[in-house]
Symmetry: C2
Subunit: 199 residues, 2 copies
DNA sequence: ACCTGAACACCGTTCAAGT
DNA sequence: ACCTGAACACCGTTCAAGT
């Protein structure tokens, strides 16, 4: 045993991330254990710690990949829309669509908390910040009179709201009235907020 | 050893719930372990399983108590407000205030997920449902023309939105612009939404 | 240099055995 | 009847020892 060199460090890392993502999508956050991941890629537990500093590091890297996918989906949408109003609506729908299509992986991005005392790395928060900036931009384009002072705050408020609907829907707590779709709830929030904002 | 009878079943249960709540508030969700709780109340691990069916049962019961506190806070607010508009705004602020004052316990209510395959008990979902109903009621009182068809959907949309702001703020992901308060973000969401709804 | 596998200190949960 | 404490099958993480 030892000294196999079947795979490079980077290959092992990639394999572990992919295996981890699969485990999460199939069995959820809690099923992601060091032993499960390592055995899925044909290595022993110890090897994982050659490539990740600990399990939280692995989780954070998976979350970063999820965020990147989400962001590139939003970027695609932004290219294909016209007025800021339509754009915000389309972005909100894409956000929901992604959350629904990658439910367990998306949930992990927001559920994950580092142990008390250890701060979330700044680069990770910056990554999440980019989600908000997509919307900030659209509100800026709306070019309202109050653009200067309140548009960032408005963007945060609306986007957090969309996020809240997605979270409650994903965790089965939205209790939408029968016949209604989650999408219609998102539309309701966006439409009314933007109508109010335009006044 | 054995046969102490220092406390009744109900007393042990109550002690465990209180000890559990303290652990959560001080060290968060993950610090709540069977061994920690049992040693905090001066019993061995096994005893806990005489009183709770498992750890998830203990968690669910703690969450139920948290929800009850939150609901009674909202009820208090409802008594003291006048127009539906003011009432919705005051309820949203109270929701945020509770989330901020009981952060880790409040977070557990929404982060907790039972293992895959096991559904959240209906009585628990009904309890969460009551949160929404507070707002449904106010929207009904707004008595808009569209009251019949869309007011429940609107209530869900706005309340999920308020929830989203609270969640992102509690998990340090809201990134409010410096100088702004989370409360001002909540106000922005509520004010603009209601303004749009009134049009 | 790379990887193993055993070790350590933890988990949740169960249950025979003691009073 | 009530409670214990040891057991079992798991964790995350480390690290001496092998090739």
């Amino acid at each position: 045993m030892a000294r196999r060199s079947d795979h490079s460090r980077d290959e092992i890392k990639e394999m572990a991330l992919v295996a981890g993502e699969k485990i999460i999508e199939e069995e959820g956050y809690k099923a992601l254990t060091a032993r499960r991941v390592s055995s899925a890629i044909g290595y022993t537990v110890g090897s994982l710690y050659l490539v990740f500093s600990n399990l939280d590091d692995l989780r954070l890297q998976i979350n970063t990949r999820t965020l990147d996918q989400l962001l590139s989906g939003l970027d695609e949408v932004m290219k294909r829309c016209n007025t800021p109003h339509d754009c915000i609506k389309a972005l909100a729908r894409e956000y929901l669509r992604f959350a629904q299509r990658n439910e367990l992986r998306w949930l992990m991005v927001f559920e994950h908390k580092l142990p008390a005392g250890i701060e979330t790395p700044a680069w990770y928060l910056n990554h999440i910040e980019k989600l908000f900036e997509c919307i900030d931009q659209q509100f800026y384009s709306l070019g309202s009179v109050k653009a200067q002072t309140g548009s960032v705050r408005a963007a945060r408020a609306l986007w957090s709201g969309v996020h809240g609907i997605c979270i409650l829907a994903s965790t089965g707590k939205l209790n939408v009235v029968s016949g209604e779709t989650v999408e219609s709830v998102v539309d309701t929030l966006v439409d009314n907020f933007l109508k109010g904002w335009a006044v």
